[in-house]
Symmetry: C2
Subunit: 208 residues, 2 copies
DNA sequence: TCACAGGTTCGAACAGCATTCGAGAACCGT
DNA sequence: ACGGTTCTCGAATGCTGTTCGAACCTGTGA
């Protein structure tokens, strides 16, 4: 990849973390930070949107690496027994929660990307990011061994639910605080993770 | 309210349902549909964004009315016994799910509004819509009577979780389908509602 | 009937945007 | 050293939301 392209991605990543709202993201600003003319964005990536997606993919890989690290730790801690259900759930949603609450993390990149992906005019740009669930397969494996009475689809559905709850805390914090009368500290990652685990774990209970 | 203003809201509502990307929403297009000059948007609403928020508020009221109707029906069906937990959950998330799958509904208005709220530079415009939880208070009441072992905050947290899962199905359908290997029919409202109820209900179980 | 004030309409104008374009510079295998 | 590809860059294009001032209704008090 070209040096200019890399500098644009770096600038894009940095800028996505500095801005509050995606509208403040302009090709001119990215180019200014990267030290290139604005037209370099279109030349190297086709469009500003594609540059943002490329940037998000790079960040997303790091998040998934952290998920896998947490999962492996939970597995090794329990070996040779299967890992605790709570540990697997925490590995699935923990890094997102932790990143979203860490002001120094690159989580804003993913938040802005998700916003952009919602009914974008070019959904094909995001299909790789959204439809790739490779990084969930290994979770699927452990959940199945922990809840063999659930089908693969039922496990996938529960993973989806867990991710939906995760999104609710990482993206609608104000509403959450209002709904719980400010009695839950949604600014503390461990508290939030524990609360999510507490509601997700029962979903995997044996029926009846 | 002025006749021109009403025509602008009508045009805005209609247009929000026709477009699939919020960027296709332009003041000039709204004005064209409404038969006014583009400047009328700024004159009557201050900004295009404020017009969209006003439009969304009108639609949101209808959605909440439908939630209340479903809830009241569940209550009356079970009277004098307390309503079924499943019925209360279905009333909470059902209308959103149903609207989101009905091509003729006004759900796109709310979807675009949410997208806009996340990428806007003027969050104060949305605080009324996002922080108002009056329409959830009555749900809180019935949940508490069904699960008295949970505190008000714990109930609020579970409502939040249910709404997060709801958003996951109304907004990330493709990802859901991939995760469940296309074995769950996410285009059928009753199926989706039943699945959500199935995972949310256990959250209210008595501990231990 | 007139005069006037306030609210409303309207089109032109403004600043900002992403992207395109064409000309030139830089690089690289031969 | 040459020829062709890749890259750089600033100007230009056609969008955008919003502002502005003049014109236009409409109702009121004299």
């Amino acid at each position: 990849m070209n040096q200019t392209a890399i500098r644009l991605i770096d600038a894009c990543e940095q800028l996505l973390c500095e801005i509050d709202h995606i509208e403040q993201m302009t090709a001119r600003r990215i180019a200014q930070v990267a030290g290139t003319p604005p037209s370099a964005v279109a030349y190297h990536f086709g469009s500003q949107e594609q540059l943002i997606v490329t940037t998000a993919e790079r960040v997303y890989k790091r998040l998934n690496a952290e998920r896998l690290t947490m999962l492996n730790k939970a597995v090794q801690d329990a070996a040779p027994e299967p890992p605790a259900l709570e540990g697997v759930i925490a590995a699935l949603i923990g890094p997102s929660v932790r990143w979203s609450l860490d002001p120094g993390s690159r989580y804003p990149v993913l938040r802005h990307m998700t916003t952009l992906a919602q009914r974008s005019g070019h959904p094909e740009l995001y299909s790789n990011l959204i439809e790739s669930i490779e990084h969930h397969r290994v979770f699927m494996f452990y959940f199945r061994s922990l809840a063999p009475w659930l089908s693969e689809a039922e496990i996938g559905w529960r993973i989806s639910c867990a991710l939906g709850i995760r999104s609710q805390v990482t993206r609608n914090r104000r509403r959450n605080e209002v709904l719980t009368s400010h009695t839950i500290d949604f600014s503390d990652a461990d508290t939030v993770i524990a609360h999510i685990v507490a509601v997700v774990a029962p979903m995997f209970c044996r029926p009846g």
